[in-house]
């Protein structure tokens, strides 16, 4: 007959391991973790409080498990795979070859393999808040240096894959300047997380965003150019200004103030964005 010790196991330990195993399979919210773990038990034994404790147990040993968008992500495991940038590029080459040269069924299998490897690979992902702000900036700069794309996770649950360009500090705010179809200035306050993706980018992106706008009437007369601006022309009472590199949100906010005395001339997407902004604002009033 087996001794008592040989049969004994520790339930709390098992629950910690079950929690870890689940998180290694996917990114889940607290509720999802509780629900998923309890479905496999005879009784309800998992709740928010114990799950928090179990996640903290993992964290205390150096498992990096940030909570972003209310979901828990496993960023690094002490026994995870460290995939270098060079190796990431090799996997990418294989992935593209499978995608372009194998049948769709084969590619599906390959895609599954890459996803599996990614789950076990230690990642650079961080929550963005006041406590982690410095680290988020470091991650962003690391991505620029390593020429890796990033995934920005917004507080409103939107995700955006983009190219990191620079961090722009203004008097009151910090912006992450990124490229996604066009250059964008993202106020870090809008973010809940940043993840460095494995995908690299090769194209040199022009870092400077030039916006041309026109001012008329009295505003044109009295407007004083800012440090980042130059005068393109001043004819027939219309002042055309070239603005360089001003965070879009700040520029829009300022130009809205100039109401009908101001018109964005280029680039077209800035005109479109401004139009949309005006329409959205109007919609607030049911107009």
């Amino acid at each position: 007959m087996a001794s008592k010790v040989s049969l004994k196991k520790n339930l709390s330990s098992m629950q910690v391991l079950k929690t870890l195993k689940l998180l290694m399979e996917g990114d889940y919210t607290m509720q999802e973790i509780v629900d998923k773990l309890n479905t496999k038990e005879d009784d309800v034994i998992f709740n928010n409080s114990v799950i928090s404790k179990y996640i903290n147990t993992c964290r205390s040993l150096g498992f990096d498990i940030p909570k972003i968008h209310n979901k828990y992500y496993i960023a690094t495991l002490p026994f995870g795979i460290n995939i270098s940038d060079v190796e990431t590029d090799l996997i990418k080459t294989l992935y593209n070859t499978a995608k372009n040269e194998l049948s769709s069924n084969c590619f599906k299998v390959f895609d599954g393999l890459v996803k599996k490897i990614n789950r076990y690979a230690n990642k650079k992902i961080t929550r963005v808040d006041k406590d982690t702000y410095q680290f988020a900036c470091e991650i962003f700069e690391q991505a620029i240096k390593r020429r890796r794309k990033i995934n920005l996770l917004f507080k409103n649950n939107i995700k955006m894959d983009c190219i990191p360009l620079s961090i722009v500090y203004t008097e009151n705010k910090t912006f992450f300047k990124v490229y996604n179809k066009r250059e964008r200035m993202i106020d870090w306050n809008r973010l809940s997380g940043i993840e460095i993706l494995q995908e690299s980018y090769k194209y040199p992106y022009k870092n400077q965003q030039i916006v041309v706008y026109a001012l008329k009437n009295k505003l044109a007369q009295r407007y004083e150019l800012r440090e980042n601006e130059e005068l393109k022309s001043f004819e027939d009472g219309i002042k055309v200004i070239i603005n360089k590199d001003e965070p879009q949100e700040e520029l829009f906010s300022r130009l809205l103030r100039y109401d009908t005395d101001c018109e964005i001339m280029s680039p077209k997407f800035y005109r479109d964005d401004m139009k949309q902004l005006i329409e959205d604002t109007l919609a607030n009033y049911g107009a």
Binding site: N10, S12, V16, L17, T57, L102
Partner: protein
Amino acid sequence: MFKQAVKSELGQVSLTGVRSLVLLGLLIQAPRSLEEIKRLFVNLNIMDESNSYDILRIDINTLKAMGCEISRASKKTDFKYVLEKHPFVLKIDKDEIDILKKTFKKIKNKTDIETLVQYDELFEKLAGCVANEDIKQSLIGLCSLKSHNIEKIREYNKYCKAHKILTILYKSPASNEREKMEVATEKLGFKNDKVYIYGFDINKKLAVMLHIKRIVAITSARENDDNYSSEKIKTKFILKDFTVAGLEENEKIIEKNEKGYLIEGEYHNEFLAMQRILSFGSSCILLEPTDLKEKIVETLKKMKEIYNG
């Protein structure tokens, strides 16, 4: 692998959970005896010296209950617990290995040696992360240079990149005799699962491809001050389709017309050009150079003869 626990913080976590996770990590690293585990646990502040080994036995049972396969500590295992399998490991299926193999096959002949070394390192790393021995061996089997001395490859690659002239003692494949050659190196290439030094034999005035496993010794290396190099064989051919193979890095599509793709290829020597053109079979029509075209026709005729006989 793990950081030392701060005793004051242990109240906020599951101590037994901490022990299980650490134990898992330690066993993933290497087989361990109970004494070793206890010593490491004590060092990490997660066990007291006075605690009995039974605590560790329970931790081992816990891992087993979670699906870990841990062999008994016996004389055979040097009284160490060996983690054979565990559910926290990267699991790669046979199907996935097969597709990985297919995919890698598509690119490995077009890949330079340095990158092939990197692929080998990647496959070895993945092999180190899987538990299943067959899968592990399959991943190692993917390494193209596994039968080669990587250090030698790196050394030869350095010479080739610097286009050095090497004095080589080479075991000729024709005679199996050792011969001394002076070769102006051009590149280190991978072809048909073999690594070759591509270069120019400055005494015989011939483009050569030396299988590195036949190199007995390199007795000297000097600068290529006279800029010796082999003359490449330039070809133009029509490829009706790409069903046979993709293009090599030394081939490019010039145009696409109703007949297929007009391709320009540049080969290290006539032999390689011939091999390549023939390998396309009926999908390929060589247009230039005329003398090679004649040789291809001649060769094909001879081949036909074989089947006629």
